[in-house]
């Protein structure tokens, strides 16, 4: 297992559940045992959850695994029937099968290294650092109106900070939710007195040792004590260059997680799986994908293709912002219409269905968990 977060842990669990009884090595570049990342931008950042609450393993769980934590895999080689992983500390791990679960790393703005007060949020260490700074209060500027940015803004607002969100696109969340719904969801910011500047490209940051402002391309200056850069993530696959594993927006995989190299599967944020429902490859950075797909990938690894891959459920994610539960399932990109089926966006309690040629392809809800589940099941039952 290369990667010790949710996808790697889930793969280790799937291996044991599916009867694999041999040696199991989990390599993780962070020093921590597997922890849950979604609370890092919410309850952990707000201080209502502690580090112990983030643990993904239960106290009595024993996967009989060897954990190599704080070690980064730097190369994968094929040596006859064996796959060889080289680690940054010079160690070598030989394996019959490899699960790639290296995840993704937060993108940063160029030229911000070494400037205090500038944060990205991906890891527990990132979250600790940001939490400590937010506790001091002041003016927070969030660059990027995506889900991480929006959740950080929401948490910081609740902590009493003065918050501004800067988004380069005309509408935040237009990629995952489409223009109309992206606009509706991101309207939560201004409804709570958080400034939202859209269509605002960032030219750079100013400050000597510590950031003091964000400079926009249109000449405006936004004063800042703390800056969070939430401009997406890129898959951690550079180390696989030259390994023979085909890369294309992450590790290119079949519908069961198999890569171009026998005995190697990929799961989680680093994996670009073929999605039979969408008819194309999709690299999905959702928690639920990282938990569910290892089952299929491990079955494929143990049988190498003898197992028939099932059709996965439509991708699902949730977000909590300003006390509102936002849930989404499916793919918005293929939709030609979106209609509100229940409630009203203005009440922040509604459900909207995305359709393509009359067929539902995605569903979005705010504070409608029961109805959302009905639609999510219906979406899963719709033939691809």
């Amino acid at each position: 297992m290369v990667g010790a977060s949710l996808a790697g842990l889930s793969a280790a669990r799937s291996l044991r559940k599916q009867g694999y009884d041999g040696r199991l090595v989990v390599i993780g570049d962070e020093p921590h045992r597997p922890y849950d990342r979604p609370p890092l931008s919410k309850e952990f950042l707000a201080g209502t959850l502690g580090e112990a609450d983030l643990a993904l393993e239960s106290d009595d769980e024993d996967l009989r695994a060897e954990w190599l934590l704080g070690a980064r895999a730097v190369a994968l080689q094929v040596d006859g029937a064996e796959r060889v992983l080289l680690l940054d500390d010079g160690r070598e791990v030989r394996a019959d099968g490899v699960v790639l679960a290296t995840g993704a790393v937060a993108r940063n703005l160029p030229g911000t290294d070494g400037l205090a007060g500038v944060h990205t949020l991906r890891t527990l260490d990132d979250a600790r650092a940001l939490r400590d700074e937010l506790a001091l209060g002041g003016r927070l500027v969030v660059i990027g109106g995506g889900f991480i940015g929006a959740e950080v803004a929401s948490t910081a607002y609740a902590l009493g900070l003065d918050v501004t969100v800067i988004e380069a696109a005309p509408t935040p969340l237009a990629g995952p939710l489409g223009e109309t719904m992206g606009g509706i969801v991101s309207a939560l910011h201004e409804a709570h007195g958080v400034r939202l500047l859209c269509g605002a490209g960032v030219k750079g940051l100013s400050g000597e040792d510590r950031v003091d402002a964000v400079l926009l391309e249109d000449g405006r200056t936004v004063p800042a004590d703390i800056v969070v850069v939430g401009v997406g993530a890129r898959p951690c696959v550079d180390w696989l260059e030259g390994s023979g594993v085909e890369l294309d927006n992450g590790v290119k995989c079949g519908a069961d997680g198999r890569t171009s190299v026998a005995g190697v599967v990929a799961v989680g944020d680093c994996a670009n799986w073929y999605d039979p429902r969408a008819g194309s490859h999709r690299r999905v950075e959702h928690w639920t994908g990282a938990r569910e797909r290892p089952d299929a990938a491990v079955a494929a690894l143990l049988s190498w293709g003898a197992a028939e891959p099932g059709v996965p459920r439509p991708p699902y994610f949730w977000s909590d912002q300003y006390g509102v539960k936002i849930q989404f399932a499916g793919h918005a990109a293929g939709a030609d219409s979106v209609t509100v089926e229940e409630g009203a966006p203005g009440d922040r309690s509604f459900l909207a269905v995305y359709r393509c040629g009359g067929q539902p392809v995605a569903v979005l809800a705010m504070d409608q968990p029961r109805l959302f589940m009905r639609w999510r099941k219906q979406l899963a039952a719709t033939p691809s």
Binding site: D36, P38, L56, S58, W318, P369, F372, M373
Partner: protein, 119 residues
């Protein structure tokens, strides 16, 4: 022993939420078995009656934790604590729940609310 609902009124694959404190949900599986567990997910405040029922497992509608209806055990994270189970009886077509005397495993926000503290 608390009457829940008539068996004929609870189709297979559906759940019925009993509004007692804390709430309990009765599940009728696709195989025709009936189970009762605490309705509230042990991870965060969500109603498991609104969850995804598959076999003898229910998946939380919010964060996808999975619980085994037979034992209450956690089958998938982020929940870590089992959900409390209750005995079920079916007599003359009526489903009855025999509430467990064990302590429930409620999520922190709900537990503090029940204890009269701040939510």
């Amino acid at each position: 022993m608390i009457p829940a609902c008539l068996l004929v009124d609870l189709p297979r694959g559906e759940a019925y939420r009993l509004d007692i404190d804390p709430p309990v949900s009765v599940f009728h599986t696709d195989d025709g078995e009936v189970f009762a567990i605490d309705d509230t997910c042990t991870h965060q405040d969500a109603s498991l009656a609104d969850g995804w029922l598959e076999g003898c497992e229910v998946e939380c509608p919010l964060h996808a934790s999975k619980f085994d209806l037979r034992t209450g055990a956690v089958d998938a994270p982020p929940a870590k604590r089992p959900v409390r189970t209750h005995e079920v009886l079916v007599q003359d077509g009526m489903i009855y729940v025999v509430p467990s005397t064990d302590a429930p495993n409620l999520p922190p926000c709900v537990a503090s609310r029940l204890a009269g503290g701040p939510a």
